[in-house]
């Protein structure tokens, strides 16, 4: 028998690949169909409900809840500050796993006061939720979009653009100075990634945990890293523009993704009444994000990008705060915010990896120069220090 004949008798590759998957599917069907013994969990039902969103309107407190446990939960009673509220409306059916429901409570709440809400389930378990300082939830009207849009511009686009005005200075600077600026940039970005991960983990802790909790941040980060690597490869193959331009574009995309997550967090905090809007906050964010502009222009200091391209970079990096804030203010949930903050962090890590080779003088293979290490430290401290302004 010839080799060719042997190969003709062989099954196609895809069938071989399908065998384990088919067996797995059959096993799953059998388990489901016969409800095989020994698979039921012992013990009483586990009831876990997360409050994902709180809305306060005059005379009404409304909670959006999600079943965060393995078993269905039937909500039976509502208690606000140690008083049963008969007029509260609850879903009549049990809430299934990962299901959502709305709890409406007529209640004359007072601005600025704290409220402790307790939802009593049919088994007597209590779901506790605190409102630390009651404030009316903003309505999604023109004023809302206008205010958050303006806030997004103040916090995102304008400071990034201002930071990019360091370009003429960077262009005139000598080569070691440019590398120092790049080192500062790497420091800035590295600390931005750290901040995003920390805030993402904090956000992830607030909502339902069934979607993965803090691991969502890392899922977002890894996906973004892979995607950015793909974008980088695509740009390299297209040989679009000079090397510096490619790095600047990647930096802008990375910062843009980060700012989308930051916008979500700002919008969510605003909707929850937890954001003290004021000049100080806006100035703090502006100073903080101005440094992001420097990170974008440093890679193109030795090139001659067109003004239009520079504006485009600024928009990519700074504008996403606006839609982020809108979405966050309207419908944020902590899991999405955590995922997107992770995406920003992953993108930034990839960008940092892009910039690192440029920190060494060409042909140099030894460790970092002291001046470059100082630049990195300056970047880290600068981002940390300006972050204090935001509180």
């Amino acid at each position: 028998v010839t080799t060719e004949a042997k190969q003709a008798h062989r099954a196609p590759g895809w069938i071989l690949a399908a065998i384990p998957i088919s067996l797995l599917a059959i096993l799953a069907l059998l388990l489901l169909a016969f409800d095989l013994p020994g698979l039921d969990r012992n013990g009483p039902p586990i009831e876990d409900v997360a409050v994902e969103r709180t809305e306060l309107r005059p005379g009404v407190i409304e909670l959006r809840v999600r079943n965060d446990g393995p078993d269905a939960v039937r909500l039976a009673q509502v208690v606000v500050n140690d008083a049963f509220i008969a007029e509260a409306s609850l879903p009549t059916e049990p809430i299934g796993r990962l299901g959502q429901a709305t709890v409406r409570i007529p209640y004359l709440w007072n601005e600025g006061e704290a409220y402790e809400i307790s939802l009593l389930t049919s088994t007597g378990v209590t779901v506790a939720h605190s409102i630390e300082a009651a404030a009316e939830t903003p309505k999604a009207d023109a004023g809302f979009f206008g205010l958050l849009g303006l806030l997004g511009l103040y916090v995102g686009l304008i400071p990034v653009m201002m930071g990019m005005l360091w370009l003429p200075f960077a262009r005139r600077a000598r080569e070691p100075v440019v590398r120092f600026l790049l080192a500062v940039t790497v420091g800035l970005l590295a600390f931005l990634a750290v901040e995003a991960v920390v805030e993402g983990i904090d956000q992830a802790g607030q909502g339902a945990q069934s979607f993965g909790g803090a691991s969502l941040v890392f899922l977002g980060a890894l996906l973004a890293y892979v995607a950015m690597t793909g974008v980088d490869g695509w740009l390299r193959r297209r040989r679009a523009g000079a090397d510096g331009w490619r790095v600047a574009l990647l930096v802008a995309i990375g910062i843009g993704l980060h700012n989308l997550g930051e916008g979500l967090a700002i919008g969510g905090a605003y909707a929850a009444g937890a954001l003290a809007l004021g000049a100080f906050l806006v100035i703090g964010f502006a100073v903080h994000n101005t440094t992001e502009g420097l990170a974008i222009v440093a890679p193109v200091a030795r090139e001659r990008p067109r003004l239009r391209s520079l504006v485009l970079l600024g928009v990519i990096a700074g504008l996403p705060v606006v839609p982020g804030a809108w979405i966050g203010g309207l419908a944020s949930n902590p899991q999405v915010t955590a995922l997107l903050l992770g995406v920003g962090a992953g993108a930034i890590v990839q960008v940092v990896q892009q910039i690192l080779p440029a920190l060494r003088p060409s042909g140099e293979r030894r460790g970092l120069e002291p001046a470059i290490a100082t630049g990195l430290a300056c970047g880290l401290l600068l981002m940390w220090g300006t972050g204090l302004l935001v509180g």
Partner: protein, 344 residues
């Protein structure tokens, strides 16, 4: 001796609802319930421009499903099976079985109670001073239990661990407590097994009345056992009540007549909280602490009781209408320990 409660008619219910505007709204609002049919926040805000008027539970507890009715518990005094001993003394015997039972303590909120005879509070034992009492107790639960009576009796009838076979009645076991009814007054009984807080708050308690040999004057009598439930087992009560069901007497006011003598046997068994209290609106009552004297100690509208403390209240309502009674601790009241008298 006890008066039968007038059967609630549809008319009286409607009247009751009209009397408490808030309650009528409660019933209406909780009837639909489906979130899709629920009023919008704006409708709610229009409907309750000043917010809810009273605290209250959503819906009602089904007494049939619970197996006991707080309305009946008010007046179902249990004198036991009465025989006469040689020598002419009265012997009263009771059969008591401890059972685990899932009950609703507020509408839709169930609680795995430990019960005497399937109810919380347990039966209201009633005897006359000097009677011989014999309580045959069977434990049909998975935990050891006892019956510890307040009163004067020998130590081997005290129902606490170390007091002999009655001090720890194992699952499936039976023990007969036997002692004399003394002193006259209002007492209580409860399980005294370790851990005590669990065995009491789970529902193993009841009222125990010993009448003086010369009976008290005829009256409209009722029993109120002030209790609470730690439904999530965090060492604090989520639900408060008299006779177990939160807000029950708000939905079903207790009907009494003008100027008739009303006698309330009030017992506090509340676990976890140091002090409970009873306050009656717009009327004053004579208070007989522990019921061991026929002379009232006080004319007041508010009294307090620690756990195990009890007393008899006597009041005549001069005016017709609805009069609230509740713990004068706002938290307890708004978590279920509140009710109404309807005077006609």
């Amino acid at each position: 001796m006890p008066l039968d409660r007038t059967k609630l008619t549809r008319r009286s219910l409607l009247g009751a609802a009209a009397g408490a505007g808030a309650l009528a709204v409660v019933t209406g609002a909780s009837g639909g319930g489906d979130s899709s049919e629920a009023p919008t926040p704006e409708e709610l805000a229009r409907e309750y421009p000043h917010g809810p008027l009273h605290s209250g539970a959503r819906g009602h507890v089904d007494a049939a499903a619970n197996g006991f009715d707080p309305d009946a518990i008010l007046t179902d005094f249990d004198g036991g099976t009465v025989t006469t001993l040689p020598g002419g003394r009265t012997l009263r015997t009771w059969e008591v079985v401890a059972r685990e039972k899932e009950i609703q303590v507020a509408p839709g909120v169930s609680f795995l109670a430990w019960t005497y005879n399937g109810r919380v509070p347990g039966p209201t034992f009633r005897a006359t001073e000097g009677d011989r009492l014999r309580i045959r107790f069977t434990n049909a639960t998975g935990h050891p239990h006892t019956m510890h009576f307040h009163g004067i009796h020998p130590s081997n009838m005290d129902g606490i661990p170390g007091s002999g076979p009655g001090g720890l009645v194992e699952p499936g076991a039976t023990f007969t407590y036997e002692f004399d009814a003394t002193p006259f007054g209002l007492h209580l009984y409860h399980c005294h097994t370790f851990p005590l807080a669990t065995h009491i708050h789970r529902g193993l308690y009841g009222a125990f009345i010993i009448d003086p040999k010369t009976p008290r004057p005829d009256a409209h009598e009722m029993v109120m056992v002030m209790n609470g439930f730690d439904t999530n087992f965090d060492g604090a009560n989520e639900v408060y009540a008299v006779n177990t069901v939160a807000f029950h007497y708000m939905h079903r006011p207790i009907k009494v007549r003008r100027d008739e003598l009303v006698r309330i046997y009030l017992v506090n068994v509340l676990e976890f909280d140091a002090i409970n209290s009873f306050h009656l609106h717009a009327n004053f009552f004579h208070y007989y602490p522990t019921g061991t004297s026929l002379t009232p100690a006080e004319l007041t509208d508010t009294i307090s009781q620690v756990q195990g403390q009890r007393g008899i209240l006597e009041v005549r309502f001069p005016y017709a209408g609805r009069f609230m009674f509740h713990a004068h601790k706002s938290e307890f009241a708004e978590l279920g320990w509140v009710g109404m008298f309807e005077v006609t």
